[in-house]
Symmetry: C2
Subunit: 305 residues, 2 copies
């Protein structure tokens, strides 16, 4: 990781973690055990790439950090909800996440499901409560809902499980179609890239960016997300559990259709690099001011190569 990206990510992580600490503090009506389960996964760390993107994109468009913080925290809530539910026995059945036991291993399945549900709800609560004015808050909440819901991340997880045969779908065209590069690309886009694109768009919305700027930020986020997921697939092949903080080799064991399985490791790296380069190019309208976001795109590919 270059010093610049490293410094950027840790500074942004501090900001969003402070906001989350405040907004996730105990409240009289929240059962203590539920608060614990929520904070266990929120505080498990991770690089906070999504909120960092929201804050950076807001700054790039001339906005203040405080305008983007509710959306930045919300997107981390959605991301954390998705990790908790994806790790469940009925889904990817993972015991480790970021080097620690997964939520359901510590709190049990019921609490893990409900902690995820609560985080998803909280994401929308944070935006409609703290983002101003209302018109902006509604656009933000709609952006987040589209990227998260049946047409976004949740739909992508269904596609992924259909492709693995873990959800049966005799009537589903997707399940019937042969697994190939097109299907993997669609899964990567819906499951991962749309939420990252939403993070970037949310930053732009926070800064009242013009439509052409929002489009550029979304294009950047989408390509970055595709590169990110390609590298994630590659790390599962080439990495170790320790470096990953999760169980390595799971994808192959599960028979998951990943990019390296379909096109080979070398071609998968080439695709990841191409997408990261496309991401950087999408920022052309912002000129030199977008240098930190371009560096972030390079970092995503280089973190493991």
């Amino acid at each position: 990781m270059t010093d610049n990206v490293s410094e950027l990510l840790s500074r942004r992580a501090c900001q969003v973690e402070a906001a989350l600490r405040e907004w996730l503090a105990d409240q009289p009506d929240v059962p203590l055990r539920l608060g614990e389960a929520i904070r266990y996964s929120i505080e498990a760390g991770g690089k906070r790439v999504r909120p960092a993107l929201a804050l950076e994109c807001c700054a790039l468009c001339g906005g203040q950090d405080r305008d983007a913080l509710p959306a930045a925290a919300a997107i981390e809530c959605v991301h954390t909800f998705s990790l908790i539910h994806d790790d469940l026995p009925a889904m990817d059945d993972d015991d480790l996440r970021r080097g620690r036991p997964t939520n359901h291993k510590v709190f049990g399945e019921a609490a893990a499901i409900l902690a995820g549900d609560a985080l998803l709800t909280l994401a929308f609560e944070l935006i409609v409560r703290h983002a101003q004015p209302s018109e902006k808050a509604c656009r933000m909440a709609l952006t987040l809902a589209r990227a998260t819901g049946r047409q976004g991340m949740i739909g992508g997880q269904v596609l992924d499980l259909l492709a693995e045969g873990r959800i049966s779908g005799a009537n589903d065209a997707t399940a019937a179609a042969p697994a190939g590069i097109e299907l993997v690309r669609r899964i990567h886009e819906q499951k991962t890239a749309r939420l990252i694109a939403a993070a970037c768009r949310l930053g732009g919305l926070a800064a009242d960016a013009a439509e052409h700027e929002l489009a550029a930020l979304e294009a950047y986020g989408l390509k970055l997300g595709l590169a990110f997921q390609a590298v994630d697939d590659l790390l599962d092949v080439t990495g170790t559990s320790r470096a990953l903080g999760k169980t390595a080799g799971k994808d192959a064991a599960a028979g998951k259709q990943t990019l390296p399985r379909i096109v080979g490791v070398e071609e998968a790296w080439r695709i990841a690099e191409l997408q990261a380069a496309d991401a950087a190019d999408a920022l052309a309208p912002f000129g030199g001011a977008a240098a930190p976001l371009r560096e972030l795109a390079r970092f995503v590919v280089e973190r493991a190569s």
Copy 2:
């Protein structure tokens, strides 16, 4: 059921079901199997009491049906999401719901969890996309989030599972406290009554009701919700699976702390009737115009006595 209440409920059900059909129609990016799983539970029926309350409360405050429809549909999405997740093996482990196999029995656990997640997300999407103007949409989304999240229904489900010992919570004051009428009342309020109160408030918000009207509608909904849950507990003792459309006697089998278990069947009926009467009284500011809502409160208690 009196003819009036019956007519009211079926008319309101038609309206909200038409709206849901439109808003849940297939879209290119939604996996077919996910759409099927979502519609399976949405179309399973039920009396649509919550959306009916939203529409009636809106009408009572002089609003148009179209103003309340997004919120009415949203609250049915949240209710349906909660049924799907509550029925999961890790939670209440129910095989039957409204006389049909539960969602996870048909589509598998993974699809059921994701269909619930998608419905929760869709609830917020419907409000911020269709409710107008933005300021009203934000107030509606916040009302829904508070009633749904960690301090509302989801928190209530955690309390319920803690009381049953199905979530362990050594540090939780609630788990340590002796189960009693106070705990049961708190579980009923958070798990059931707050969402029903939110349905009523959402109707008022749709109609731009005054603060004192919103407060009256919420008080009505809260008492109605408490009566509703008390009767639900009673039906589990006195009803059959067929009448219930779900597995009867589950509460006792699970060792659930229900109202009849703690205060006896007779006293539980008295409490339910008292709460329904309180609900009717809360509508005093609306005078005779609130007659349909008062009848609805009576119906809730009388549906099985």
